[in-house]
């Protein structure tokens, strides 16, 4: 798994090179941090020629480890202006690994207005081909058309109209291993806008004629550790498996972590909760012939993905997640799963982040543009983004841009990116993540459900916050967090997997160092890009407005957080 595919969209050149030695024990997020540090001017224009668009696979990609094939999209974010890594399941990471490709680096910008597909064929040959026939298509029809041309077994990472138009809330949609639909999203940070700036409409990876094999140092050791992990994950499947990530709402909404009414800090009313929680979701699946417990990437044993059908029993969306329900649902006082699922489908199709979109709708509601809970109004706003109306284009620039334009005071963003489904006052570890993560406000950079954490000492919170971010940065080099969490219950699993794959001595500290190094590189990149500790703050209202559910406020200062990272 050591090939790097380098693509120059100006010259059209596609070349393979061997990954540098120091890249071999990095994956996904760490790999992106390293390449950005080595190759990209931190002060560059995110949509200009100096920025690079990177697709990276995990350290253990190519192995038989479940969830080792997450795909990361990275570069300098058009949304935050900082370094960005946004990862996604689906089948593209697995496809790349099958060709022995560890990473794709797309450079420069085209000299003309021509859009391309990046196609890797069965033999592993990569080329840029004109995308004229696919322009103007949103993701679902785009993927259908690509399948008609390249076959049903392809993996696709693509952008819809949002990417063509340069929406800064634009996602990259990836085909789901179970359904083949582009329902998986590398959603955060506007990576789709960066892909669009390179004028790549889609990356199409065909199934390799022969899968590249992984050269294990000690296959027996690897297999034993893998077996332990799989047994741990399957012996007592969590609600993530038995329901899906929507089950998170049952756990966190009574803690008032789920945002309600644009982060008012209220608790979602139990009557509303019961319409959109895990049980309601399962009932909908049963009624409309949907399905859960699906793997989004080949070989996954967590299987948190799903198919959500409409009331006629026809496929509406997939990969329907907690954060989408929280941000497009409770945050907007919408308690109807069908409406939220429709918004999810519209967002996936257009190729925009459902988290950013939900936050943007919430801000529109706060401004009085549409009433709280207005289901039709919310759908209409998303439709405006699809139609490219003047306001729709503004929405495409993200929550902060809309908040400013509408004169809203309570705009839930950090570094230009919206908060993602957890009220930071009521789980203060997340307040540290939102404030300080180089990614902007992003729960995946370090989340911990810890109610009453405002009652805990500052130093305790700070050290937990730093540890969580380090832990997640490590995870983001390796695999899906749900499987990684499973590995944490047995301290020998991760070291044995690494030793089995690569040889040498591994322990928890050495593995954790991967995350530490990743974070260090990212923080240094952002500093060089011009970020200071003044950017490591939450919107003011989280410090001043007590959460209505708990009375909690955020009270950690930027200086205290900076000190914690020293």
């Amino acid at each position: 798994m050591s090939k790097v595919l380098r693509v120059n969209v100006k010259t059209g050149a596609t070349t393979f090179e061997e990954a540098k030695e120091e890249y071999k024990l990095l994956g996904n997020r760490g790999l992106i941090a390293r390449v950005m540090t080595d190759e990209v001017n931190p002060k560059c224009d995110p949509l200009g020629k100096e920025n690079k668009f990177i697709l990276a696979t995990g350290i253990l990609s190519g192995t038989t480890l479940p969830t080792a094939h997450r795909l990361s999209a990275g570069g300098k974010s058009p949304l935050t202006g900082g370094i960005k890594e946004s990862n996604v399941g689906g089948n593209v990471g697995y496809m790349l690994a099958g060709h022995g490709i560890k990473m794709v680096i797309i450079e420069d910008i085209p000299g003309d207005d021509s859009w391309k597909l990046l196609v890797v064929d069965k033999s592993g040959k990569a080329q840029l081909v004109p995308a004229d026939d696919y322009l103007g298509l949103n993701n679902y029809s785009l993927v259908e058309k690509l399948k008609a041309k390249y076959g049903n077994k392809i993996g696709v990472a693509s952008i819809g109209l949002a990417g063509e138009r340069g929406y800064r809330n634009c996602s990259i949609q990836v085909t789901d291993a179970s359904t083949g639909h582009p329902s998986r999203a590398a959603a955060r940070g506007g990576m789709g806008a960066l892909m669009g700036a390179k004028k790549i409409k889609a990356v199409v990876i065909d199934e390799p004629a022969t899968r590249a094999s992984f050269n294990y140092a000690d296959k027996k050791k690897f297999d034993a550790a893998r077996k332990s992990l799989v047994e741990g994950l399957t012996a007592r499947p969590s609600a993530t498996t038995t329901v899906g990530t929507i089950s998170v709402i049952d756990m966190v909404s009574p803690m008032a972590l789920t945002p309600v009414r644009n982060y008012s800090g209220e608790i979602i009313d139990i009557k509303s909760l019961n319409k959109i929680n895990g049980a309601a979701f399962l009932k909908k699946l049963e009624k409309n012939g949907g399905k859960n417990q699906l793997p989004c990437q080949p070989g996954c044993v967590v299987r948190c993905s799903n198919i959500y059908n409409d009331s006629k029993g026809e496929y509406l969306t997939g990969g329907f997640e907690y954060e989408t329900v929280a941000m497009c649902g409770t945050n907007c006082m919408i308690d109807d799963l069908d409406t939220i699922a429709k918004i999810d489908r519209m967002c996936d199709d257009l190729g925009v982040d459902t988290i950013e979109t939900g936050a943007t709708i919430g801000v529109c509601m706060e401004a009085g543009k549409i009433p709280w809970g207005d289901k039709k109004g919310a759908i209409k706003l998303v439709q405006e983004m699809i139609d490219g109306t003047e306001f729709g284009k503004l929405m495409g620039q993200g929550t902060e841009a809309v908040g400013k334009a509408l004169g809203v005071k309570r705009v839930p963003t950090v570094k230009g990116q919206s908060l993602s489904g957890y009220d930071p006052r009521n789980t203060q570890i997340v307040s540290i993540t939102y404030s300080t993560s180089p990614m902007g406000a992003d729960h995946t950079a370090g989340v911990m459900m810890m109610p009453n954490s405002d009652l805990m000492p500052k130093q305790f919170r700070l050290s937990m916050g730093v540890n969580m971010q380090t832990n997640m940065a490590t995870c983001d080099n390796l695999m899906c967090m749900y499987a990684y969490m499973g590995a944490m219950f047995n301290p020998t699993i991760m070291p044995d997997l690494m030793a089995g794959a690569f040889g040498g001595e591994w322990d928890a500290a050495k593995i954790s160092q991967i995350g530490t190094d990743t974070l260090k590189l990212e923080r240094a990149f952002n500093k060089a890009a011009g970020f200071t500790i003044d950017d490591d703050v939450l919107p003011e209202f989280f410090y001043n407005e007590p959460a209505l559910s708990t009375g909690a406020i955020c009270d950690l200062t930027k200086e205290e957080m900076a000190e914690a990272f020293k």
Binding site: P254, I267, I268, D269, I270, N452, S549, T550, G551
Partner: protein
Amino acid sequence: MPYNINHMTPVLFGPNMSMRAGMRLKEMGCKKVLYVFDQGIKNAGIPDRIMKNAEALGIKSYVYDQVKADPPDYTCEECAEVGIKAKVDGVVAIGGGSSMDTAKVANILLTNPPPLSQYMGFGGPPFKPGKTLVLIPTTSGTGSEVTNMAVITDSKTGNKGGPANNTLRATLSIVDPVLTVGMPPSITADTGMDAYCHAAEALTSGQANPMSDIVGARAINLVCKSLPVAVKDGSNLEARTDMSFAAMCAGYAFNDAITHLGHSIGHTLGAMYHIAHGNACAVAIGEIMEYVAPGAPDGIRRVGAAMGLDVNHGLSTQKVGEMVRDAVRKLNKDIGLKTLKDHGIKRSELNAIAERSMSGPIMFSPRKTSKEDLLELLEKSYDLS
């Protein structure tokens, strides 16, 4: 001398923490809760957020909003009836001492047979614990949020008294200084001096102990520092927070040490003239401190030191008592506390007040106290304006 420490009621303390009541109720397993408050608290809208948050978590609300000042016994029975009918598994009081004491007593009646009268006073028949009880004070004075007693009025005799038993205590108190911000200056002053009296009487009580000394001294210290500020500027959250903490500490202090003369007089003035409890207890507290000093030489020095007075350098106990008296008179004046005269009481009525004050907590006085002693204290403090 051996002593009991009974005062550790669990507390969640801090600005806006009342908003967390719903979550705590849920954690304690409550599904149906009886809220107890008075019309003033209701009209101020204070229960709304607390109830809404609990309801959002699926906890049903039942309300008794007829709490009266110096709560008559029958109101506790009425309140309990609401709870019994609804089969509640939790009781939440939101308000001052009257609401909290009504809830405490009503809570006993949820699990113990009537009549209420059998549970009154020390030494009555043992009673079973009530349901989960959460007390949320909206004043800073009573300390009832952390004590194991309740003071109610016998509607037949007009006398004050109540059950006192560790099972009466709250399962949890939530002390939220923000709820006290709306208190007008006169109530702030009256309730604040109630806290002072609890602490000063506890420190000089015949039943003071080393633990009540510690918490009582802190209460006095904070009252002197922050009560005048809170009276002048009710929105000063720092002063309000100090006062909430002081009231709680004073509650802890007198729960074990018990009050004495100030509260004997206070209960009498409440029963005879319906003077606000804190004001009633504090009208003669300076003179009481001077009077009890010889019986509590260490206690009076602790009171003086906590008030920031220089009580060292070989000063006599009597001198320290005088210094404390003067400092209390100044404090009462600063906060505009009404005197007996201000209340329209005639000098000729003082004898009756003294006589009626010979019962109640007077037995915890560190000095043997006669009716004449009380009369002299009332005479001295009659008109200090």
